[in-house]
């Protein structure tokens, strides 16, 4: 990872055709962009497409980069839009009925009476990892995007709404439901949690 001052020089050099500067910029940001694409798309082949398209656009349009945001933020937006475009073009019918059927009365999720930090409880990490990965892959795209952008990538509600083309209220509702869906799937696999079944 290069620092911001070095990055500014690298961008100037890359715009002037310096191939070494271009390579350094690509090398510096490609892992994060690939990781983002994997999280949003849940598919390695599609994530690689998005990765390549993002950096093709970067090299073509770097002269238009204003520098008002960081280069990563600029790339992040390009990659997110490409990933969302891919998801839309596939028009995947959402197979996850659980989350769509949540009514207002059940929006607080399962009735969990007892929750012990599973790390402190020394619960098997591989089981938790596996059930969280399964849960994130089962989340509908529109919920997973919000969860990743808000809770993992730390975007604000407003930024997430802008990037995804949603209202802020819609982002909040989807985020709340996505978190609860993840928590409830985790709870089902945890010995230290007491869930009341109604």
């Amino acid at each position: 990872m290069v620092n911001q001052l070095d990055e500014k020089t690298l961008i100037e050099n890359a715009v002037n055709g310096d191939q070494s500067a271009m390579a350094t910029l690509v090398d510096s940001h490609s892992a994060r962009i690939y990781s983002l694409a994997i999280k949003l798309l849940q598919n390695e082949e599609d994530a690689e497409d998005v990765l390549q398209e993002t950096f093709i656009i970067m090299l073509k349009k770097l002269n238009t980069f204003s520098g008002k945001s960081s280069l990563y933020t600029w790339l992040y937006r390009i990659a997110t839009n490409l990933a969302l475009g891919k998801l839309r073009s596939k028009q995947i019918v959402n197979p996850n009925e659980d989350i769509n059927n949540l009514s207002e009365s059940s929006y607080l999720g399962k009735d969990i009476r007892k929750w012990v930090n599973p790390v402190e409880k020394d619960q098997d990490q591989s089981i938790m990892k596996s059930c969280l990965e399964k849960a994130i892959s089962k989340l509908p795209d529109s919920y997973r995007s919000v969860f990743i952008m808000r809770d993992v990538e730390k975007n604000s509600t407003r930024q997430t709404a802008e990037i995804l083309g949603l209202s802020e209220a819609n982002v909040k509702v989807r985020l709340m439901r996505a978190r609860l869906y993840m928590r409830d799937r985790l709870a089902e696999n945890m010995k230290c949690v007491e869930v009341i079944t109604t």
Binding site: S20, M22, A23, I56, L108, I112, W115, R183, V193
Partner: protein, 83 residues
């Protein structure tokens, strides 16, 4: 905490959601903290959702770019990795 047995007014539920979304000001944080100290249902709810998000982030941080993916990227861009 469940809507069936937890008769909070909307303002407390809104506070909890804002807290989880890191959208809470200092005054409201104090108000929520006070409520949570006296309400075990809300405490379980907040702790469990926060812990789930934290756990997901901890398993997520290990994602690396596979070397083959990186090589193909540089090839498509007509760049040399160590140039």
């Amino acid at each position: 905490m469940n809507a069936h047995n937890h008769n909070h007014n909307d303002s407390i539920i809104d506070l909890v959601q804002k807290h989880l979304g890191r959208d809470l000001g200092a005054k409201a944080k104090g108000e929520l903290k006070h409520h949570i100290e006296e309400c075990p249902d809300c405490k379980v709810y907040v702790d469990s959702v926060e812990e789930t998000v934290k756990l997901y982030k901890s398993i997520d941080s290990a994602t690396d770019i596979p070397s083959g993916v990186s090589e193909r990227l540089f090839k498509v861009l007509h760049l040399k990795k160590d140039s």
